[in-house]
């Protein structure tokens, strides 16, 4: 009875870079995803749990009522005992198994108390409430914590706390981006000459990965909006684009005609969907005028693809990003990426769907990442302040923040 896959209620913990696997799990419809650990009977953990995240994971694992099971794709740092990790690709079949490892938590880990000093001087003497969102929350890619200081449903002040992801990889879901930046930086440092065709082929592959990134984000965003038809549309397009990405060997060779055609067809459907969204009154009603980038805000150039220019709201942000994904399918070669050497240092830039990932490498081996999420984080509170609590989740989901990028 308890081992029946179709009634499994799972709560997902994305410890960093697990959003792709979790979205895949949602699409295979093995059981049902629930949003409170108390409603779950299975805990799914994807990614490597960091030292800082471990207490939060323990707290969530303790909240799952017994009898409960666990499926882990990654490393829980000993928080969950007696579980064997599976490959992220095999998560769905692992979850569908009749007998799962029993969920048992290491009791030594104590959860930390959140104490936030509240602002004192206020016009009205209403009591403020600190609503802690995360670090494990479904709005971003990986664990990030948001402290929303609310006056009723109105957000008075917002803070972002990062450092919960194990930042070994920039984005484990799309390892290509960071690896290419590393390769280009190393080449520039050594002064190696790369055949232009090869470099162009790499860029072409990035084009399709960018589209996958955007569609994964769209799937999550419409899930947060709880808008079923749009999420289904995103899931269908995502499935097709991922299938195309798995044919990417052809793509690398300069684009086989079949893959090219496939990409063009997906791009056309994507544009059609975006146009339908732009016409949708429901979409406008739920996303217009929220998450506005305040005019005069200094959004770093690196975060532009994610946050957008001043005056952009969630509605325009979603449509712009979908159009960008269609564009990168149609014109996969990206002239923006660069690799330059500057004395003892080399600097390479690769464009992901979120923005430019930069890597600065010195001869001594010192490397410094510059990521779009890290550039966007200082602006995030300004987008949230003054908005309603139920809009905050939509705004946050619209940003495509990636915890592993922030903590790299």
């Amino acid at each position: 009875l308890t081992g029946s896959a179709e009634v499994r209620r799972w709560f997902a913990v994305d410890a960093g870079g697990g959003s792709a696997a979790i979205a895949g799990l949602e699409r295979t419809r093995v059981g049902r995803r629930v949003w409170s650990p108390r409603h779950a009977d299975t805990l799914v953990v994807v990614g490597r749990v960091s030292q800082k995240l471990a207490p939060a994971l323990a707290q969530i694992a303790r909240a799952v009522p017994q009898p409960a099971w666990a499926v882990v794709a990654g490393d829980t740092r000993g928080v969950l005992s007696g579980v064997e990790a599976v490959e992220p690709e095999r998560l769905a079949s692992a979850l569908a198994r009749r007998h799962l490892p029993v969920l048992s938590v290491d009791n030594a880990l104590q959860s930390e108390e959140d104490t936030v000093p509240l602002p004192k001087e206020r016009e009205m003497a209403t009591e403020l409430v600190v609503h802690s969102l995360g670090p494990i929350q479904p709005l971003t890619d990986g664990p990030l914590r948001f402290l929303l200081i609310c006056d009723g449903e109105q957000i008075f002040e917002a803070r972002v706390e990062s450092g919960y992801a194990d930042g070994a990889d920039i984005d484990p879901a799309t390892p290509l981006m960071a690896r290419l930046a590393q390769v280009r930086a190393a080449e520039a440092l050594r002064g190696a000459r790369v055949r232009p065709e090869l470099d162009a082929a790499r860029d072409r592959e990035l084009g399709i990965v960018r589209a996958v990134q955007v569609l994964r984000w769209a799937h999550r965003f419409f899930g947060v909006l709880r808008w079923v038809p749009a999420q289904e549309e995103a899931a269908a397009l995502l499935g097709r684009t991922e299938a195309l990405a798995s044919d990417s060997l052809d793509w690398l060779e300069g684009g086989s005609p079949a893959v090219r055609l496939g990409a063009d067809v997906i791009a056309r459907d994507l544009r059609g969907w975006a146009a339908a969204l732009a016409d949708s009154r429901l979409f406008r009603m739920r996303t217009r005028g929220i998450g506005l980038v305040p005019t005069g805000t200094e959004v770093q150039k690196r975060a532009h693809a994610m946050v957008g220019p001043a005056g952009e709201d969630v509605h325009d942000r979603v449509l712009r990003r979908l159009a960008e994904a269609a564009h990168s399918l149609e014109h996969p070669a990206d002239p923006r990426s660069s690799a330059v050497r500057d004395g003892d240092e080399a600097h390479a830039e690769v464009f992901s769907a979120r923005g430019a990932i930069g890597l600065r490498v010195g001869r001594d081996g010192a490397a410094r990442w510059e990521t779009p999420t890290a550039a966007a984080l200082p602006v995030v509170p300004r987008l949230l302040e003054g908005s309603k609590l139920s809009d905050a989740e939509v705004v946050l989901a619209s940003l495509d923040l990636c915890a592993t990028e922030a903590d790299a």
Partner: protein
């Protein structure tokens, strides 16, 4: 002595109706094994530990799902299943029925408040905002059939529709009633008090095991009852050829519930202030207009059609 089997029958019918809602929801979403999955899920939830979180208000936390379920069970008594079978055939049955939805909201608020957490607190106040959005339009929409039947008795209202369903000449009232019913039953897209992504379940966040199951049965029963009452008020209730009354009532209710669920599925979740604004700026004036229209039509239409 006769009350006991009747109570058992009402409870059984209520549980069945709640189950039917779960099946319908899965069937519309094309989830595999829609017929048996809710039962198996219910059994797994029931088998789980009923955890008691730290810092809760014990009495309110424990009583909330019971209050919610009892309110719905009492409301079920006022549903006329056929010409002769109604739990309580009161002359003010409809009034009682609608009034019993207020304790349900109170149970939701208690559930959120008792958790002692912020997610629950937000959920509690959103539930209160719900009460403000649905109550007036729901009541005004239900006044149409009352005016036509000149009675608050649910069985009299059904009998009044033997020639023509009220839904046929009061389509606006039916539409308003259904929208308000989605509000009142905390269904998607109006399920903000249980908002999962930002409040991790809101009012229901801390419930698990049998308590969670009872709450979810009560929520489904709430929706089922409002759909059944929609059939009673607007779609001729138990009346229909050949088949016995209760079957007709069940069939019509299932069709209506399926329709509402399928339409509601196409909406994104609404914000509470959007709900309130819609309720007071659109639903309320429209329901007042409906009362006026029904009043005029009741005068103009020949008596045989009413």
């Amino acid at each position: 002595v006769t009350a006991l089997p009747q109570a058992a029958a009402t409870l059984g019918a209520l549980a069945l109706a709640a189950y039917a809602v779960a099946v319908l929801r899965r069937w519309i979403a094309h989830t595999p094994k829609a017929m048996v999955a809710p039962l198996r899920e219910a059994m797994t939830i029931f088998a789980q530990q009923d955890s008691i979180p730290a810092g809760i208000d014990h009495f309110l936390f424990r009583s909330a799902p019971v209050i919610a379920f009892v309110a719905m069970a009492l409301a079920a008594l006022f549903v006329p299943a056929s010409a002769h079978a109604s739990g309580v055939d009161s002359s003010v049955g409809l009034f009682f029925f609608l009034a019993l939805f207020a304790p349900f909201v109170v149970a939701m608020m208690n559930a959120g408040w008792a958790q002692g957490g912020k997610a629950g607190l937000f959920g509690a106040f959103r539930a209160a905002a719900h009460l403000l959005s649905y109550e007036v339009p729901l009541g005004f929409a239900a006044i149409g059939p009352v005016m036509a039947a000149e009675s608050l008795s649910t069985s009299r209202i059904v009998e009044g529709q033997h020639a023509l369903w009220y839904g046929v000449w009061q389509p606006l009232g039916l539409a308003l009633y259904l929208v308000a019913a989605v509000f009142a039953s905390f269904r998607h897209p109006c399920d903000l008090p249980q908002a999962d992504t930002e409040l991790a379940g809101g009012t229901l966040a801390e419930y698990s095991g049998p308590s969670l199951l009872l709450f979810r049965v009560a929520l489904n029963a709430n929706f089922a009852l409002l759909m059944v009452m929609g059939v009673v008020l607007f779609l001729g209730g138990w009346q229909g050829p050949l088949l016995p009354g209760p079957i007709w009532l069940a069939l019509k209710s299932a069709a209506l519930a399926g329709l509402v669920l399928a339409v509601a599925r196409r909406f994104p979740r609404l914000r509470h202030d959007q709900m309130l604004a819609f309720s007071w700026k659109v639903l309320l004036p429209a329901s007042l207009l409906n009362v006026l229209l029904v009043g005029v039509l009741a005068l103009v239409l020949p008596g045989s059609l009413q």
